[in-house]
């Protein structure tokens, strides 16, 4: 429903002709990006900036319903299959049976199958449902997904304004540090305390993001470089602070902060799980970002700047103000991830408070095609991977790193639909000059007709 609204509210910048090939489409994107080579290109191609500028750019949900969603599903399947092959390739049983492959191929195949599936079954059991705990793992998935969604929204929002925000990691760290400090050092009444924690965290994240925006707007410094560097600065800053008396537990030398006050933490939603109020906050934020992008003037300015900064400036948008504002907002969104970590999931501040969340957030936003709800569901999916991987490692001994492999493969395949099509020989043999590229419009029409 919201998806329809979105497509109505947003004119399509590059309307693909019926028989245009993918290469032409991309070329159109590129020339649109740079106004035919006249402009400094924005770092993010139009196709990624606007969630629905063409058929292939919808949210995850829409893309699954629409024709191109098929490619996304295939991308996930291929990524899982390749990950499975990787698991099997190091499996002892597979190696043993491969020794007499030609004598008894069935042994090899069954070993291959069980090696590939066992890990994924464990992953599923750890992230969605298993007979012992019921749906308890699903709650854990939602808990793990919360910071991913928040930080992913931050990355996605910056994306839409044409900014590549690699800095979610640093923004999470700074916000978590401030929020945690207020949480354990100040002792305020119930309700007010949590509010102060959130405000301080958001201020920290917004400040850390705004630095990037200011540098970009004032000096033209590339935001990719600045955000990467600020991530490390934040990391070392946290490391330093955790080694000061103010942040350590009294009488303890290990770099762990005291536990946050009860009044400073998100209430648990379902007793017996770790799922906390932060998840509902994440849903609200998703809706908020959707509203901001599609219903507000500021959001329109952001998208205008993302699509073509020079045209936006000509049209009267204050580009530098929009840049600073969008980075501050991105930082504030990522900050909710940091707050969810310290005030919800972990309740203490450690050096690893941000884990890989800031980096996962980038892949989450990419998978969600930078739309708020797409990011939300992508965050849930990656949250499931993260939550399930722990169980998988315990049950089958498969290292958690396999999740990184599968995640990155999914994003790679989704970013390059022609690759998936050529793997599955999906390209229709038509009059196209470039046989590799499937005509997108045809696919869209097919699914549109079905609807």
């Amino acid at each position: 429903m919201t998806e329809n609204d979105q497509s109505k509210s947003e004119p399509t910048p590059a309307l693909p002709a019926e028989d245009q090939s993918t290469a032409d489409l991309r070329a159109a994107d590129v020339s649109l990006d740079t106004a035919g080579g006249m402009l400094e290109p924005s770092i993010v191609p139009v196709s990624s900036q606007s969630g629905d500028s063409g058929a292939q750019h919808g949210s995850l949900l829409r893309r699954i319903v629409m024709g191109n969603g098929f490619v996304s599903v295939l991308a996930v399947i291929v990524a899982l299959f390749l990950g499975g092959l990787l698991i099997a390739s190091t499996d002892a049983q597979v190696a043993k049976t491969a020794g007499y492959l030609f004598a008894r191929p069935a042994d090899f195949l069954s070993a291959l199958w069980s090696a590939m599936t066992e890990s994924y079954v464990a992953l599923f059991q750890g992230s969605v449902f298993n007979p012992r705990q019921g749906l308890q793992p699903l709650l854990e998935t939602m808990t793990v997904a919360t910071p991913l969604i928040c930080a992913g929204l931050g990355v996605a929002l910056a994306f839409r304004a044409g900014l590549f925000n690699i800095g979610a990691q640093g923004q999470i760290i700074i916000s978590a540090t401030l929020a945690a400090y207020v949480g354990f050092a100040w002792h305020l009444p119930f309700g007010l305390h949590l509010l102060v924690v959130i405000i301080m965290g958001v201020l920290g994240g917004a400040l850390w993001g705004a630095i990037v925006g200011i540098l970009k707007a004032r000096t033209g410094a590339h935001e990719v470089i600045v955000t990467i560097m600020l991530n490390y600065v934040a990391l070392f800053l946290l490391d330093f602070l955790l080694n000061t008396a103010a942040f350590r537990r009294p009488g303890d030398n290990s770099p762990i902060s005291p536990r946050l006050d009860e009044s400073a933490t998100y209430p648990v939603l379902i007793p017996g799980s770790r799922l906390h109020l932060g998840f509902l906050v994440a849903i609200a934020l998703t809706y908020g970002v959707w509203w901001l992008l599609n219903r507000s003037t500021i959001g329109f300015e952001f998208r205008a700047v993302g699509a073509n900064p020079v045209a936006a400036r000509t049209a009267g948008v204050k580009v530098s103000r929009a840049t600073i504002l969008v980075m501050a907002m991105a930082g504030a969104l990522a900050a909710f991830g940091g707050i969810a970590q310290v005030a919800g999931t972990e309740k203490v501040l450690t050096g690893g408070v941000a884990a890989q969340i800031g980096f996962d957030a980038i892949t989450v936003a990419l998978l969600g095609r930078s739309t708020p709800w797409g990011t939300f569901f992508a965050g849930l999916l990656f949250g499931a991977f993260r939550a399930g991987a722990v169980q998988m490692q315990i049950q089958t001994g498969t290292p958690i790193d396999i999740v990184l492999v599968v995640q990155s493969l999914i994003v790679l395949f989704i970013a390059a639909p022609p690759l998936i099509r050529s793997i599955f020989r999906l390209e229709p043999k038509k009059k196209n000059k470039t046989p590799k590229a499937a005509p997108k419009a045809a696919l869209v029409n097919a699914s549109g007709g079905a609807k």
């Binding site: 290469a23 991309r26 070329a27 590129v30 990006d33 740079t34 080579g37 290109p41 770092i43 993010v44 191609p45 990624s48 990787l86 190091t90 590549f164 690699i166 540098l215 004032r218 000096t219 033209g220 410094a221 590339h222 990719v224 470089i225 600045v226 990467i228 560097m229 600020l230 490390y232 600065v233 070392f236 800053l237 490391d239 330093f240 080694n243 980096f359 980038i362 892949t363 990419l366 498969t398 290292p399 958690i400 790193d401 396999i402 999740v403 990184l404 492999v405 599968v406 995640q407 990155s408 493969l409 994003v411 790679l412 970013a415 390059a416 022609p418 690759l419």
Partner: protein, 429 residues
């Protein structure tokens, strides 16, 4: 500040009022004042001892003894003089010469060093060891930033340096162990780096996926792959898969006995020598050969290059691949020189430092080399600080390369401009 808006008194009359940016003079001035106040007036009382030659060296050079406070004042005045010269040039409407910021940086770093050492619990440091250690730490950075230079000069943004380093490090350890020869491991590392690069090239050139996206995702992919294989192969069977041995140190006779520069230049493993060769070759190739001209043309204006009959995408593909191979060798340094085994995420963000070095070095091989050395120095200083015990927390030293890079991209340390077509896919027609 108002001077920027008023017309210059003694400017040329033919041209409209031209003023070079005052960022350089201004930032030099501020830094010089900081040095004078903090290193000089508020400097430590102790005398810093800088040992130049070790006890066992053939040529004994006496140690430098620099009193903290006096040294700080002297260096501060020297820095102020340089800043004043830069400001004077600015008032004359001229840019500061290129050597000025470099000389300033060298003096500033030395002043910083004296300040740190003189303020330490044990105010003595081996200069030779410090410099040699810095170079050792800088070797992977140099290879990584050269990879970045090659890729960006041809118009492909390479965020995947981290992945190339990590892939090289892993493959070097694995292949060197399995074949028993670190040299084969070194070659395999180059191949692995090239393989990572080829994925970057195929996705960004053939499938026109945003290069930064591919780079970011590739880093994750390589981290996941190597982490997975480390967990399943190397941890259970260390003897079989993760004992690569080290590349031999090949000292050049006589030359390696020269104090300070001897061990740096002439007492290296093959990877160390390769580093110097690679910097020289890439510099010469890019700026003095027909190949380099073509590469730079493709990176600056692919349409023009295409019109002249250069195959833009093929040039990009092979350059990116070559860059990956170079970064792969850099990765091998982690597992074949620095330590002799692979651990998870051994590159630890060095790829991003290399990226910073290439920007700080203004997309120039020699600049990238010097910047890498500076960052290697910061790394080394950070570990030495822990040993001699200084008032400066080591975390702030660790931050330094990153902060310096932010200043660099913000234009405070001169203007850095990437190749014009860097990051834009080229579609013919």
């Amino acid at each position: 500040m108002s001077a920027t808006t008023t017309a210059p008194k003694s400017g040329s009359t033919a041209l409209p009022a031209f003023r070079p940016s005052m960022k350089v003079p201004l930032s030099l001035g501020i830094l010089a004042l900081i040095a004078l106040v903090f290193f000089g007036f508020l400097g430590p009382d102790q005398t810093a001892e800088m040992k130049i030659s070790d006890a066992g060296d053939a040529v004994a050079v006496p140690a430098l003894m620099i009193p903290g406070q006096v040294g700080g004042v002297v260096f501060g005045i020297l820095l102020l003089a340089m800043a004043a010269y830069s400001i004077y040039l600015w008032t004359q409407g001229e840019r500061s010469p290129k050597w000025l910021p470099i000389a300033f940086a060298v003096v500033f770093v030395f002043a910083l060093l004296v300040w740190i050492v003189a303020g330490a619990r044990q105010p003595s440091i081996s200069l030779a060891g410090l410099v040699a250690g810095s170079v050792t730490l800088a070797v992977p950075l140099v290879f990584g930033s050269l990879s970045g230079v090659l890729c960006e000069r041809v118009g492909v943004v390479n965020i995947a340096i981290e992945g190339q380093l990590l892939g090289g490090a892993f493959t070097a350890a694995l292949v060197a162990t399995m074949t028993g020869s670190p040299y084969i491991g070194l070659i395999a590392a180059a191949a692995a780096g090239a393989a990572v690069s080829m994925v970057l090239a195929v996705f960004s050139i053939k499938y026109l996926v945003n290069q930064i996206i591919v780079g970011v995702v590739l880093n994750v992919l390589v981290s996941g792959l190597t982490g997975f294989l480390y967990g399943t192969l190397m941890v259970p069977n260390k003897e079989q898969f993760n004992t690569p041995g080290r590349l031999d140190i090949l000292p050049i006779p006589l030359l390696s006995d020269i104090p300070i520069i001897g061990p740096i230049l002439f007492e290296q493993s093959i990877a160390g020598y390769l580093m110097y060769i690679a910097v020289a070759v890439v510099w010469f190739g890019l700026f003095k050969t027909r190949w380099g001209l073509r590469v730079r043309a493709v990176g600056e204006h692919p349409q023009a290059a295409d019109t002249l009959g250069i195959n833009v995408n093929a040039t990009r593909f092979w350059n990116v691949t070559l860059g990956g191979a170079i970064a792969g060798i850099g990765g091998a340094v982690f597992t074949l020189v620095t330590i002799d085994s692979f651990t998870k995420d051994i590159s630890g963000g060095r790829g991003f430092i290399a990226l910073a070095a290439l920007i700080f070095g203004r997309w120039n091989p020699i600049g990238a080399f010097l910047a890498s050395l500076l960052f290697g120095f910061a790394y080394n200083l950070q570990s030495i600080l822990g040993i001699i015990g200084t008032p400066v927390p080591s975390q702030f030293m660790a931050m330094l390369p990153y902060l310096v890079t932010i200043f660099a991209v913000a234009g405070l340390v001169g203007k850095s401009r990437p190749p014009a077509a860097s990051g834009i896919p080229y579609v013919k027609g």
